[in-house]
């Protein structure tokens, strides 16, 4: 492994973590979606670079899926949903931006400490990749818990899945079945989400999860 390939892989995976941080402080739905598209774009570059480094042509397919679906089709479709529902207003966050960012930093530090400590024998590329992937995953989770809006939660979930794809591509020679399944689950997820968004809108006239809480079964 020469220094340059490693550095580029490192830069791309690190870039993904950075974009995950950008997701954390977006306070408008459109901006959130745009940053998510950027997130998917960086993922696609990172996967393509892994495909080149590992000489694994099937990973180019994963990269293409990330580029076409995650950076293209899904953000555009969500854009249209938002437009149709007329909800392109601010996103209510549960805690302040500052606290969220601090929590995010803590999570990244945590995943570095955990992953780098337990993988001293793995090859350096996979090792760093895994640490970054866990950071992306945890930051995605953080986006999910700090948004009260259904679309915000969906974006957090998709960012989380990007972290999984990064981890799967970092594990050299991992069989294709997993990549397909990730893409597959994402498509299904999107179908389900799409249905739900419309149904929720039908029922509640809003996609604010707070409105759902009022109908909690416990309070009947």
């Amino acid at each position: 492994m020469n220094g340059l390939t490693f550095d580029i892989a490192h830069m791309l995976a690190g870039g993904l973590v950075l974009v995950s941080f950008m997701l954390l402080y977006q306070d408008r739905l459109y901006a959130l979606l745009n940053v998510y598209a950027l997130h998917a774009l960086v993922l696609s570059l990172s996967v393509a670079w892994q495909a080149y480094v590992q000489d694994a042509p099937h990973l180019y397919v994963t990269a293409a899926i990330a580029l076409v679906f995650k950076a293209g089709v899904i953000p555009i479709a969500l854009h249209r949903i938002i437009l149709r529902l007329g909800i392109h207003r601010d996103i209510e966050t549960v805690v302040g931006i500052g606290m969220t960012m601090l929590a995010g930093m803590g999570l990244v530090a945590l995943s570095m400490v955990v992953m780098l400590r337990v993988t001293p024998e793995a090859d350096p590329l996979a090792r760093e990749d895994l640490a970054f992937a866990l950071s992306v995953l945890l930051l995605g989770l953080l986006v999910m818990v700090t948004r009260r809006n259904a679309i915000g939660q969906v974006v957090g979930f998709m960012a989380l899945e990007n972290g999984l794809v990064l981890a799967a591509t970092g594990a050299k020679g991992m069989p294709l079945v997993v990549e397909i399944s990730v893409a597959f689950s994402l498509v299904i997820a999107f179908v389900v989400i799409g249905i739900f968004l419309f149904r929720i809108r039908e029922r509640f006239d809003t996609v604010d999860i707070g409105a759902l809480d009022d109908f909690r079964g416990e309070r009947r």
Partner: protein
């Protein structure tokens, strides 16, 4: 013989998927309800035939061993009785207009896809495929939970979907870590995901990586098992979906997730340097048990109450497997089977009760043994069974768990028994309230299907009185496998 073996294990997968396609195409709901039963019956027969045929050599993707055969047969059996119950249940829902014919077509097709996903999770020998199967089973139940399209149902489905997805994402990360640990030893590619190969060579795996993987797997699949504090989706999903789905969720889907955790536990046990999974599982199990036991007292919705009871029992089972050793594992397995049978029988009763009374509120249901003796007494027997009273099967398995805990770790027996007693009190209190007293609500005769209820209860009673020696021998063998 090998060909026949392969056919039987393929059959449990092919029948549901073919049935799903056929059911999605047929318009008549009476016919589809019957076909649903027929397909489930065929699957059950195929599952039973796994006992008699010679085992095939474990393949790259599917295999049958002593552990999963128990689960496949249990899964197919409860799947069959639930489909019979479902046929009478959805008929009533259609009459009252809660569901439309188009809903039902979708419902029946999804039912078979769910059965396919669960069977696939059991027979898969590939940890990646196992993950896909659990995901498939989950997604199919998500859409079924939301089928009533009410506020509560949508909220329950959304919560189930989001929490389930997070769980499944953590589980996939754990699976990737297992692959990373296996790769240097087993070699690159598909081999490093084949469970039978992994277990063979687990002793040489990087223990630290395996440890972290197990934490992710336990948290991820533990969400599906409904372990506290990851249980938040479970009561809503059970309470708001159609009752046949509540029965299958409680009786089967929780088992599927637990089965996957057990597979990875065996893997971890085969690696001498890795942490013992026991303490983690014991902690989560006890937390779930005690938490759910207290929550039982505050429930006002009958389905929600039994959902918490499921959390409680999953806690007990995870605790038993966490204790480990031949006796505790045996008890855990037995408890899993007993809980599946009893809990689904209870949900069958509850489904009919809620339909007759037109409500799920516990306070509005009284004196059931007077107005509907068949249903009321069956319900009472179910509640007595799940509360762990002798002579029923759940008593036997709980007794074994408690006594094996006393033998191994007497201090841990204190919180365990405490949790069991608290839950017992709540269940008996609510159960007697529903069964006796001044009758309330509608007294219309029910067109309930008693066959599935009684079949389950007779099996539970039978297991409490006498366990056939071959079955005991089989379970003991599996318990040793679990380490």
């Amino acid at each position: 013989m090998i060909a026949a073996g392969f056919q039987a294990e393929t059959a449990v997968l092919v029948i549901p998927i073919v049935a799903a396609i056929v059911l999605a195409l047929l318009p008549s709901y009476r016919l589809t309800a019957q076909l649903n039963v027929a397909a489930s019956l065929l699957t059950f027969l195929a599952a039973l035939s796994l006992f008699v045929i010679e085992r095939p050599v474990p393949g790259e993707y599917v295999f049958v061993d002593d552990l999963n055969i128990v689960f496949i047969v249990l899964n197919a059996f409860v799947g069959l009785t639930a489909s019979i119950f479902s046929a009478s249940y959805v008929g009533h829902e259609l009459e009252t207009g809660r569901l439309t014919a188009a809903n039902l077509r979708f419902y029946h097709a999804m039912y078979q896809i769910m059965m396919f996903g669960m069977n696939l999770a059991f027979v898969s020998n590939n940890i990646g495929l196992m993950w896909v199967a659990v995901e498939l089973a989950t997604l199919s139940t998500v859409v079924m939970v939301g089928i009533y399209r009410t506020h509560e149902a949508l909220e329950a489905a959304w919560k189930y979907f989001i929490l389930g997805s997070v769980g499944i994402a953590l589980a996939l990360f754990g699976t990737i870590l297992v692959y990373m640990a296996a790769r240097p030893v087993v070699g690159e590619g598909n081999d490093a995901m084949v469970w039978t190969l992994l277990v063979e060579k687990a002793a040489d795996f990087d223990a630290a990586l395996l440890n972290v993987a197990f934490v992710f797997l336990l948290l991820g699949y533990g969400t599906k098992v409904g372990l506290a504090p990851l249980h938040a989706w479970l009561p809503d999903a059970h309470a708001e979906g159609p009752t046949p789905i509540s029965a299958v969720l409680s009786g089967l889907l929780l088992n599927v997730a637990l089965y996957v955790v057990l597979r990875f536990k065996i893997l971890l046990a085969a690696s001498p340097d890795a942490i013992a999974p026991g303490p983690l599982m014991i902690t989560m199990g006890l937390t779930s048990l005690i938490f759910a036991a207290f929550m039982l007292y505050r429930r006002r919705d009958i389905k929600r109450m039994f959902a918490y009871s499921s959390i409680e029992h999953m806690g007990i089972i995870v605790f038993a497997f966490g204790m480990g050793g031949p006796l505790a594992n045996f008890a855990g397995l037995l408890h899993m089977v007993m809980h599946s049978l009893t809990k689904s029988a209870i949900f069958y009763c509850v489904g009919h009760i809620a339909q007759i009374k037109g409500t799920q509120k516990i306070a509005d249901i009284r004196g059931l043994t007077e107005t509907h003796p068949g249903l009321g007494w069956a319900f009472l027997v179910g509640v007595v069974a799940i509360a762990g009273l002798p002579p029923l099967g759940v008593f036997m398995s709980e007794f074994l768990i408690v006594s094996s805990t006393f033998a191994a770790q007497p201090l841990l027996a204190i919180p365990l028994v405490f949790g069991l007693l608290v839950a017992f009190g709540a269940l008996v209190l609510r159960g007697t309230g529903i069964a006796f007293g001044e009758p309330t609500g509608s007294t219309a005769p029910s067109n309930a299907s008693y066959l599935p209820i009684y079949a389950h209860l007779i099996l539970v009673l039978g297991a409490g009185l006498y366990l056939p020696p071959p079955l005991v021998g089989w379970f003991q063998h599996v318990a040793r496998l679990l380490g």
